[in-house]
C-alpha cells in the first residue's frame, strides 16, 4: 500500500513533467501559421502601418465575400519584410521596395503594388495653424538639426504673415523599420545632397537629432504631445488624428496638398516600373505641376511559391480590384490602370 502510494505520487510528478515536456514539444513541433495549405481559410500578414487602415477595411469585406479570414499585424514595413522572409506570415506589406540584401534573403519574393498613398509632414506648434509651407532643403535642415527654432528666418520667409513663435523644434522620426521613413528620407536625399551624403535613404536611417517613436500611431502621439514637434506620418493618420499638415514645395515650385488629386498627379507622372517591380514616386519631375512630392506605392511582398498560392492570388486580385473602393475615404487614390495591369501579371506568376 505504501509502495503504491509512493509510486502513485512519483507517477503524478512524472505526468506533470510529461505535460510540461509535451507542451514544449508541441510548441517546437507545431507548424505555426503556414499550415493548412490549399484548404486553409486564414491568411496572415504583417507590415506597413501606412496600408494598415486600408487592410482593416478589406478584412471584414473580404471575409464576407470570400469566407477567408485575413489577420494583419501592423508592425511596420521593416517587420513585415522580416516576417515574410522568415515565412512566419503568408504575406508581407512594405512601402519600401526590398533592398538587394533583403531580396536575396527573401528567396524569390515578389513585390506587388497594391495601394497608392503618401507620407505627410505634420507638426504641432501652439499658435500656428494648419498648412504651413516648407521646402525640401528646409525640411532637411530641420531634421539634421541646423534649424532649431520655429521662427527661423528660413521658415519665416516661406510663410509671410504667419506669426511663428520661438519654440524649439523637436523632430520626431520612426524608430522602427518604416516604409514612411524610407519615403521621407528618399525625398530628403533627392532634394538635399547634404542629407544624401550624411544620412541617406533607408527604412531605418540614423537620424542625427530628435526623438524616435514606433509606428505611425506613435509618431502621431508624440507630435500631439510635444509643443514644437515636427514629424512625418502616412496620409490616413492626418485626418484620423486631426493633425496639422505641412505643404511641401514640389519640383514645379507649387505647394500641392496631399490629397488624392496630388497623389494621382504624382502617379501619372512616373510610369516607369523598375526592374525589381517597384515604382518610386518621390520628387516627381517639374512637368507634374500638381504632384505631391512624397507620394508612394505600397507593396505586398509575397513568396513566388507558397502553399497558399490560391488564396493569395484571390486576395491580391481583390485588393487591386474591388478593394480599391475603400481607398479614397482614407486618402488613397485608386491604382492607375497600368499599375493594376502590371500587378495582375505578377500575381499570375505565384504558384504552389
Amino acid at each position: 500500500m505504501e509502495m503504491t502510494g509512493m509510486q502513485r505520487v512519483t507517477k503524478t510528478a512524472a505526468v506533470a513533467m510529461g505535460l510540461a515536456v509535451v507542451t514544449l514539444a508541441a510548441a517546437c513541433g507545431s507548424s505555426g501559421s503556414s499550415s493548412g495549405g490549399g484548404t486553409s481559410t486564414v491568411l496572415n500578414g504583417a507590415g506597413s502601418t501606412l496600408v494598415a487602415p486600408l487592410i482593416s477595411q478589406w478584412e471584414p469585406d473580404y471575409n464576407k465575400s470570400a469566407g477567408i479570414t485575413i489577420t494583419y499585424g501592423a508592425v511596420g514595413s521593416g517587420g513585415g519584410v522580416d516576417a515574410i522572409t522568415n515565412r512566419t506570415v503568408d504575406f508581407g506589406a512594405s512601402d519600401a521596395p526590398l533592398s538587394s540584401d533583403q531580396a536575396t534573403a527573401c528567396k524569390s519574393c515578389l513585390q506587388i503594388p497594391w495601394a497608392l498613398a503618401a507620407t505627410v509632414v505634420t507638426y504641432n506648434v501652439k499658435g500656428v495653424s494648419d498648412k504651413l509651407k516648407l521646402t525640401g532643403p528646409v525640411l532637411a535642415a530641420i531634421f539634421s538639426g541646423s534649424i532649431t527654432t520655429w521662427n527661423d528666418s528660413q521658415i519665416a520667409s516661406l510663410n509671410p504673415g504667419v506669426n511663428l513663435p520661438s519654440t524649439h523644434i523637436t523632430p520626431i522620426y520612426r524608430s522602427d523599420g518604416s516604409g514612411d521613413s524610407f519615403v521621407f528620407t528618399s525625398y530628403l536625399s533627392a532634394v538635399s545632397s547634404d542629407w544624401k551624403s550624411k544620412v541617406g535613404a533607408s527604412t531605418q536611417p540614423a537620424f542625427p537629432t530628435g526623438q524616435g517613436a514606433e509606428k505611425n500611431s506613435g509618431v502621431a502621439a508624440a507630435v500631439q504631445a510635444t509643443d514644437g514637434a515636427i514629424g512625418y506620418v502616412a496620409v490616413s493618420y492626418i485626418a484620423a488624428d486631426s493633425l496639422d499638415e505641412a505643404l511641401l514645395q514640389n519640383a514645379a515650385g507649387n505647394y500641392p496638398e496631399p490629397t488624392t488629386k496630388g497623389i494621382t498627379a504624382a502617379a501619372d507622372a512616373v510610369t516607369t516600373i523598375q526592374p525589381d517591380g517597384s515604382v518610386p514616386l518621390v520628387n516627381p519631375p517639374a512637368s507634374a505641376a500638381d504632384a505631391y512630392p512624397m507620394s508612394t506605392y505600397s507593396y505586398a511582398i509575397v513568396p513566388q511559391t507558397s502553399p497558399k498560392a490560391k488564396q493569395l492570388k484571390a486576395f491580391l486580385t481583390y485588393a487591386i480590384g474591388p478593394g480599391q473602393a475603400f481607398g479614397p475615404d482614407l486618402g488613397f487614390p485608386p491604382l492607375p490602370a497600368a499599375i493594376v495591369a502590371h500587378s495582375k501579371t505578377v500575381i499570375a506568376t505565384i504558384t504552389t
Binding site: M3, V75, D82, V199, T203, E214
Partner: protein, 322 residues
Amino acid sequence: MTTTNLDPSSIPLPTRRRPRFGETGLRALTAATALLLVAIMALLVYETTRQAWPSIQEFGLGFVTSDQWNVVTGQFGALNFIIGTLLTSVVALVIAVPMAIAIGLFLSELAPRVLRTPVGMMVELLAAIPSVVLGLWGILVMGPFLAEHVEPWLSDHLGFIPLFSGYPSSQGVLPACVVLSIMVVPIVASISRELFLSVPSELKQGAMALGATRWEMVRSVMLPYVSGGLVASTMLGFGRAVGEAIAVTQVIGGANAISRSLFPPGDTMASRIAAQYAGTATSLQRSSLAYLAVLLLIISLITNVAAQLISGRLQRRLGGEA
C-alpha cells in the same frame, strides 16, 4: 519468560534492500530537472551568440567602441547605448540606493513595530508593479510633469552643470532614470532590511551601552557590519536597471546620438533591442542587436555572480563570527 518468539536472526535487517521504484524514480526525475536547467541556460547562451555571430565576425571588439549605428552604411557599434545604459543605471542607483538603505533602516530600526509589516509590504508592492504600467505612467503622467515643472527648474537653477542643460523634453534620459530608480528601490530596500535585522543585538547594545546615540550606533556598528551586503544588493539593483527594456523604451525617446544632458532622448542597449529587433532592415542589423544582447548577458552575468560571491563571502564571515 526469558525467550519470546523473537529470534534475533529472524528480524529482517534493512541492509541491502533493492531500491524501490519510487526512490530512484523521484531522484532521477528531479535530477533531470536540474539537467534541464543547465540545458536551458547553455542553449540561451548558444542561441544568442549564434544570432550575434555575423556581427561579432564583422566588427569584433571594435563594436564596443564604435558610436555608429547606421543601416545605410552598414556600420554598427554599441558605444552610444553602452553609455546610455550606464548613464541611466548609475543615475538611477544614485537616486535609489541611499533612499533604499534609509528605508531598510527605517523598517528594521526606526519604525514603530506596528508599522513595520504594512510599510514593508508596500515597499515590496513597488516591485510588483509591471514595468509596462510604469512605462505607461511615465509616458502620459511623469514625463510631461518632468518636462513642465522639474526640468525647467533644473535648467534655470543648475543649468551650468551639463547634465541639466538643454531643452526640457517629456521623453528623455531623465524619465528613464526615474522609472529605473522606482524599480531598483524595492530590491535594495528589502535586502537592506534583512541585512540590518541580521546584525547581532550584542553589537548594537554594546554600542548603546558605551553611550552612543541610535544614529551613532547605526553609523559605527551597523553600516560597517552590513557594508558588503549593501554592495551586493546595489549590484543586484544595477543588474535590474541594466536589463530593463520595456519601461525604458517607452519613455526614453529612442535617439541615435548620446548627449551630455539628461533632458533629450537617448537610448540604452535593452531599449534599442526592444525597439528595432522586430523589424530590421538588414540581417547585419539583426545580428548587431543580438550582439547587444550578448553584451547584456555578459554584464548581467558579471554583476549577478559578483553579487552572489560577495554575499557568500559575507555569510561565511558571519558564520565564523557567530
